[in-house]
């Protein structure tokens, strides 16, 4: 299933237009959603502000689950943006899929492994950076790679790569599978004609509902795991 992509080259780098459009659409939706909610902030919150504060409180809760409140404070914004961004990304492909000349331009950006792995690299980079800034390079190195004893070094290095791959690929796999199966259901209707309209519709509805659930869970898991990794790096186990 090699989907065609339309690409262009700039400064020797290859850009995927469909991917870029999806990312920008998601970013725009997230921004305007948050922007609209954050107008006219008051000490005594209104309906919109309550919604925003509920999301913020929720993501703050995710970060303080693994970190102490003091340690979690600098990552509040990251957790908030990451969660909302992933949530919208995961759902976008379920509602909106724009294709032109066989090239899909608008879909879930998180159904692209490059995007999810980039986010995973950013999350783990943040975790390692936090570890170094908190414990110093020596403390970071020994607590991350030389525990429980020095011989564990190769395993620990392997673990870091495993963390990176699982973090990125878990999200990608879930969302990609969701879109793939949705595509197959719609194909079923297209190839079998009128007979399959009603079963296809029911199947599609069920699968979209399940995918919304999966997308929500996966954005949640991604944020939680990011903070688990950060906490592992800044709070060495005894």
């Amino acid at each position: 299933m090699n989907e065609p992509v339309s690409t262009f080259k700039l400064f020797g780098l290859t850009f995927d237009i469909g991917n870029m459009v999806s990312l920008v659409v998601v970013a725009a939706i997230v921004f305007f959603f948050i922007f609209a909610l954050s107008r006219k902030l008051q000490i005594k919150p209104t309906k919109k502000q309550n919604v925003l504060e509920m999301i913020v409180e929720y993501t703050n809760g995710l970060s303080t689950n693994s970190l102490s409140a003091k340690n979690a404070k600098p990552y509040g914004l990251y957790a908030f943006v990451l969660f909302v961004f992933l949530f919208i990304s995961n759902q976008l492909g379920l509602f909106l899929e724009v294709a032109y000349n066989g090239v899909t331009y608008v879909k879930s950006p998180t159904s692209n492994p490059v995007v999810t792995m980039t986010l995973a690299v950013m999350a783990l980079g943040l975790a390692h950076f936090a570890g170094v800034s908190k414990l110093g390079f020596k403390g970071y190195f020994s607590s991350t790679y030389l525990k429980p004893f020095k011989l564990w070094l190769p395993l620990n290095i392997f673990e870091e790569f495993a963390n990176f791959l699982t973090l990125g690929l878990r999200l990608f796999g879930n969302i990609f599978a969701g879109e793939l199966l949705l595509g197959m259901v719609s194909n079923l209707v297209v190839t079998h004609g009128v007979v399959m309209v009603i079963p296809g519709f029911i199947l599609g509805m069920a699968w979209v509902g399940f995918s919304i659930f999966i997308g929500t869970i996966q954005s949640l898991v991604f944020v939680i795991l990011t903070f688990v990794y950060i906490s592992q790096k800044i709070q060495p186990e005894e």
């Binding site: 299933m1 780098l13 290859t14 991917n19 870029m20 909610l37 490059v114 995007v115 986010l119």
Partner: protein
């Protein structure tokens, strides 16, 4: 199928170059989004939430203070109330005492007055009685004299009268001679 997609997406192009453009673009989009949200939503929201936390803690401490004030005030009022109750009791007792005294005084005065009035009345009555008695004596004397003179007038004849007058005159003469 999954690995194929994975591979093709990572490879992205026929030349097999890693999709570094996508990686950079993803990172840039995410970082820009974070910066925008920080500027337009996160900072104002954090400010508002911090302000709210301040306000709530202020409210709590001020409520604590006013509660203490109210308690103090209530205590003061309690004290003042009991004091005024005592005062009122004192005043009532004083008033009772003075009223008692006054009433006793009035009663004794009235008794004295009544006694003096009674005494003077008795004296007056005695006097009246005496006067009346004296008057009656006089009247009786006059009456008896009149009655006697009437009786005498009737029995005395003119010569007898003459003889009587003479005897009087004689008596007068004797008196003068002495």
């Amino acid at each position: 199928m999954l690995s194929q997609t994975l591979f093709s997406s990572v490879a992205a192009t026929e030349e097999g170059g890693l999709a570094i453009g996508n990686i950079i673009f993803t990172a840039i989009v995410f970082i820009v989004l974070m910066a925008l949200i920080k500027h337009y939503a996160w900072k104002p929201l954090s400010d508002v939430m911090a302000k709210r936390a301040d306000k709530i803690s202020n409210d709590i401490s001020s409520a604590e203070k006013s509660r203490k004030d109210a308690e103090e005030l209530a205590k003061k009022r309690e004290v003042a109330l009991s004091k005024s109750r005592d005062d009122a009791n004192d005043i009532i007792n004083n008033a009772k005492d003075s009223a008692q005294k006054q009433s006793e005084q009035i009663v004794s005065e009235a008794r004295n007055d009544a006694q003096s009035v009674k005494a003077s009345a008795q004296k007056d009555i005695e006097q009246e009685r005496k006067d009346a008695l004296a008057n009656t004596k006089d009247d009786v004397a006059n009456l008896s004299v009149e009655i006697a003179s009437k009786i005498i007038q009737k029995e005395l004849k003119s010569d007898d009268q003459k003889a009587l007058i003479d005897s009087y005159i004689e008596g007068l003469g004797k008196q003068n001679a002495r």
